[in-house]
Every structure is written in structure tokens, then in C-alpha cells.
């Protein structure tokens, strides 16, 4: 299969134009407002990496559960897992180049009472080495999962499924630890004196939400375009919708858990995160974050017919993906760029690059393998799935 079978030359051209224009705009911006462009790129890199990692996570979870329903469209999360490698390289460069934008790396902590372990942990070179380790482990394990799954296309051996099941369990443990630490390292350290132990879970929730939304859009488009016609059924869509509904509620639950404890105890070292984000023009953005990530998906996805409707699911998935962008925007921008909220051509270009890169990398990864894992023993069950 070639990319040409998936997208028309017209769409391909549009993606390329979007991609090029965004890169040019960002390059111009980098000369004018380097900090703001870097913040956009950090957002973009983290977004792409988490969507890719989410793909690997979805594969691993379904293997460990022995789930059969998702086998038919497993090449979608697999394509996301493959996309992780280029995204990680991109984010790695962004982190290395912009390490001076982390206050800690630029001029230390400036506080005599800092816990000694934090000084050790946040040391710039150790911080960079850790990033390399996270990326290497994620790429290695997710690539292995995908490679084993692809080799099953030829052999059809059940032993490969068993192997992947064990590998998945290992990946899940490694993932849980490393992703939590990575979100501390790359996002929470933007405000070095602030801390939240729920930060890793909060980012996990948003990550799964965005991954599910991406998978829903990919599934619908691939069903329309052909490769997954008759494979990706309304029942699969329905179940992805249930998961998206569940994870939207989970995200809200975690967001509120973080907010409420800080609000209740009202200690200056903790409230320093929320006070700037609740003031002035940031406040409506914070409310919009809750609306996009929870209220809309929750109310729309409750009725059964909505979860089985292509057009409704498509729209909700787009809303959730925009919500994810806003969520990361609110984590990054108040700490780096500061007030008032900077929303302009640079941010639009950042989003354009995100859509262009995600689309292009996904198509490239998806077309590298058979569209259906034909050798998986659970495929037949997935094709006859009723929920």
C-alpha cells in the first residue's frame, strides 16, 4: 500500500502546503519572538509524543487484557506507535535547544531551602540524559510490539501473541514510571518551585483522551477511504466512544482532584500555579478547557446513537483534540510566555504544523504495513464483534 491509495493528491497537496506554510511562519516567528515559538514547539512536540505513546499504550493494554474487539483496527494504534520515534527526536531537539527556557536550568533555583534530591534530580545534564533514556526505552519497546505484530502477518503464529502479551506487561510497568517522571521533567519543571504529585496522572488522562480521539478520526477516515471498510464497524466506533466518554470523565476527575486540594489548603507554594491561570483573560480559557475536555464529550457521548454516528463522533473527537491543545497550552504558556495569554498567528501556525505533522506521519506509518493484522488469531472474533 502506498500513501497515494489513502489520500487523494489534492489532500496530500493541502497537507504539504499547511505543513510548509506553518514551518515558514514559525521560522519567521523564531527570529522575532523566540520564547513564544519555543513554547509552541514544546507543546507540539509533547502533543505528538503523547499521541504516539498513547498508541503503544493502547496496544499494550489490549494485549494484556486479551482483548479481541480491537484487533481488526490495531494497525491504527500501531501507526501511532511508529510515529513516536520521529516525534521523540523532534521533542528531544526542542528540549535540548530550549533548556535555557527552564528557569532552573537558566539560573538555578535560588532558594536555600531546596530539598537536596531536587537539586540532584533537576541538574541539567542528568535531566537531558533522562530524556534520552525515556525516549530510547519507549521507542525500543513500542517498535518491538509493532514488529512482532507485523511479523505475525506472515507466520500467523499464536506464540507471537503470547510474546507480545508478556512484552506488553513489561511495557506498561516501564511506561507508568517513565511517563510520570517525563511529565514532571518537561512540563512541571517549567515552574521549578511548584509541585503536584498528581501531575503524572493528570497528563496520562489527557494523553489517553487525545489518543482515543485521534484513533476515532483515523478509524472513520480509513473506513471511508477503503482500507478498513467492513473491518472498522459501528460497534468498534461505539466502544471507542465509550472509552472516550470514560476517559473524559477521568480527566475531569483528576483535574478537579488537583485543583480542589490546592484550593482547599490554600498554601502559597501550591497556589502559585493556579492564581495566574485564574486571573484576567486566562480565566475564560481555563473554563473553556473544562468545557472542551469534559462537558462537551460527556453530554454528547452519553446517548447510544451518538457513539454510533460517524459525524457526531468525528466532531466530538475534534473538540477533544482542540481541548488537549488548550490543556497543554495552559500548562506551558503561563509559565514561559506569561500574561496576557498569547494567542495569535504563531499559535495558529503551531496548530497547523501539529495537524500537518500528525497527518503526514500517520499516513506514512500506516502505509508501511498491511492495513489489517491478518495473522492474528483473534482477528475473526474482532470482525464479528457486537457490543
Amino acid at each position: 500500500m502506498t500513501p497515494a491509495t489513502l489520500i487523494s493528491p489534492q489532500t496530500s497537496r493541502r497537507l504539504a502546503v499547511l505543513y510548509t506554510v506553518s514551518v515558514i511562519v514559525l521560522a519567521v516567528g523564531a527570529a522575532m519572538e523566540p520564547l513564544r515559538i519555543w513554547s509552541n514547539l514544546l507543546l507540539l512536540g509533547f502533543y505528538l509524543v503523547t499521541v504516539g505513546l498513547g498508541g503503544a499504550l493502547f496496544i499494550a493494554l489490549t494485549y494484556v487484557c486479551g482483548a479481541s474487539w480491537s484487533v481488526g483496527f490495531r494497525r491504527i494504534p500501531e501507526a501511532l506507535a511508529v510515529l513516536l520515534a520521529p516525534a521523540a527526536i523532534g521533542l528531544g531537539i526542542i528540549l535540548a535547544v530550549g533548556r535555557e527556557h527552564y528557569a532552573w536550568h537558566a539560573h538555578g533555583h535560588g532558594d536555600a531551602g531546596t530539598f537536596w534530591f531536587k537539586e540532584l534530580w533537576a541538574d541539567t545534564s542528568f535531566w537531558l540524559i533522562r530524556a534520552v533514556i525515556y525516549f530510547a526505552v519507549w521507542i525500543l519497546l513500542s517498535r518491538a510490539l509493532v514488529a512482532v505484530s507485523r511479523s505475525q502477518d506472515q507466520s500467523g503464529s499464536v506464540r507471537l501473541s503470547h510474546f507480545n502479551k508478556r512484552l506488553s506487561a513489561f511495557f506498561l510497568v516501564i511506561y507508568a514510571i517513565t511517563f510520570s517522571l517525563a511529565s514532571f521533567d518537561w512540563l512541571m519543571l517549567l515552574e521549578p518551585m511548584w509541585f503536584s504529585t498528581i501531575w503524572g496522572v493528570y497528563n496520562f488522562a489527557g494523553m489517553v483522551q487525545a489518543t482515543l480521539a485521534t484513533m476515532i478520526i483515523a478509524g472513520i477516515l480509513l473506513r471511508r477511504r477503503g482500507p478498513l471498510q467492513g473491518v472498522f464497524s459501528d460497534d468498534h466506533l461505539h466502544d471507542l466512544g465509550k472509552l472516550l466518554l470514560g476517559f473524559s470523565c477521568f480527566w475531569m476527575y483528576i483535574w478537579f482532584s488537583q485543583y480542589m486540594l490546592i484550593w482547599y489548603t490554600n498554601m502559597p507554594e501550591e497556589t502559585s500555579y493556579f492564581i495566574p491561570r485564574a486571573e484576567g483573560a486566562w480565566a475564560p480559557l481555563m473554563v473553556a478547557n473544562l468545557v472542551l475536555n469534559w462537558i462537551v464529550p460527556f453530554l454528547v457521548l452519553l446517548p447510544r446513537p451518538c457513539k454510533r454516528s460517524e459525524s457526531v463522533m468525528m466532531k466530538v473527537a475534534v473538540v477533544v483534540l482542540v481541548g488537549r491543545w488548550l490543556d497543554l497550552y495552559l500548562m506551558i504558556f503561563p509559565s514561559t510566555v506569561g500574561s496576557p495569554p498569547a494567542l495569535g498567528i504563531w499559535e495558529v501556525a503551531g496548530m497547523g504544523l501539529l495537524v500537518g505533522a500528525l497527518g503526514w506521519l500517520f499516513i506514512r506509518s500506516f502505509t508501511r504495513a498491511e492495513p489489517i493484522p491478518s495473522g492474528d488469531p483473534l482477528l475473526a472474533e474482532s470482525l464479528h464483534y457486537h457490543c
Binding site: 478537579f256 485543583y259 480542589m260 457486537h386
Partner: protein
């Protein structure tokens, strides 16, 4: 399915496999027979569609109960915290929304869960001490029973038997049963 408890003259067709039951159900509906109920040892996927059941209204009960729980508790907490017995907690305003959310959430979950379960019990007329009436003993083990209504004089048992025979029919029996609230 009748709403009120009435005596029905019924035909009980027994099958040994869920696929046979599903096909037989579809065939019976195609021929226009009226299905009183179906008894299976476990939940058979796709049977609700094959029987032509309406979508369950239980989800609405669940939603309304959940909303009642959440809004009711929000109001209750507001009434206590701001009106009836105002207490200053850490200098926060009396009608602080964040502090009321956890309990409102719990109340929503509690009411939605119990409301749905008790609504199900009420609709199915399940109550403590209700007598079990297995139409055929093995329906709780490995048999599947399709119950057809012998609506009028045109109902012909031998015709039904010819229709259902291809689906490995195990037994056919005529019986008068009370069908009220037996869904």
C-alpha cells in the same frame, strides 16, 4: 409483551444452542409470530435486536437519578453551608462551589446506581420472596426457550414446528402461563 398479568396459551420451543435460538427468533419474527418472551441461561448478544425489543429506558432513569442526586446535593450543601448553619472554613466564601463538588458527585453516583437497580426491580416486578417459575428446568442450565403467543384460531402448531425444525428444535410444548411482568 403484555403489561398486565394475563393467562396466555403459549407454545414453548426449546433449543440447545444460542445460534439456533437467534436464527429461530429471527425466522419466527419474519413469519409474524408474536414472541411473548425468551428464556436463556445467560445474556445472549444480539437477542434484543432479533426480538425487536425497544431500546431500554433504564438509561434515562439512570441519567435523571444522577442529575437529581448532583443538583439536589449541591442545593442541600449550599443551604447548609451558606444559609442554615454558615461556618467559616479557612476564610473561604460560604457558598464555595469546589468544596461541594465531591459530595455532589458521590450523591450523583449513589442515586444513579441505586435508582437504576431499583427501577429494574420494579419494572421486572422482582421483590424479596418472589417465587421462581422456571418454565422448563433446564433453562437455567443449558437450554434456550422461545415462547410464542398462540394469538388466534389461525395459529397452527404443526406449521410452527415445520418452521422451527431446521434450527435443531429440541422440544415443543403447549402451555397456559401467566405472563405479567415477566420480562
Amino acid at each position: 409483551m403484555s403489561k398486565h398479568s394475563t393467562e396466555h396459551s403459549c407454545l414453548l420451543a426449546t433449543f440447545g444452542h444460542e445460534d439456533d435460538l437467534l436464527d429461530a427468533t429471527k425466522a419466527a419474527r419474519r413469519q409474524g409470530y408474536s414472541i411473548v418472551d425468551i428464556f436463556t441461561p445467560y445474556a445472549v448478544h444480539g437477542l434484543d435486536r432479533a426480538m425487536g425489543l425497544r431500546p431500554s429506558r433504564l438509561t434515562w432513569v439512570c441519567f435523571i437519578c444522577g442529575m437529581t442526586g448532583a443538583l439536589g446535593m449541591l442545593f442541600f450543601e449550599y443551604w447548609i453551608g451558606a444559609l442554615a448553619w454558615a461556618i467559616d472554613v479557612g476564610g473561604k466564601p460560604w457558598n464555595s462551589l469546589p468544596s461541594t463538588v465531591p459530595v455532589a458527585f458521590e450523591a450523583a453516583v449513589f442515586l444513579a446506581a441505586f435508582g437504576s437497580v431499583f427501577a429494574l426491580f420494579a419494572v421486572a416486578r422482582l421483590f424479596p420472596g418472589k417465587e421462581a417459575y422456571p418454565l422448563i428446568e433446564r433453562v437455567t442450565d443449558d437450554h434456550f426457550v422461545l415462547v410464542l403467543d398462540e394469538v388466534d384460531a389461525r395459529f397452527d402448531v404443526s406449521q410452527v414446528e415445520r418452521l422451527l425444525q431446521p434450527f435443531n428444535l429440541l422440544g415443543l410444548e403447549e402451555r397456559v402461563i401467566a405472563t405479567g411482568g415477566s420480562r
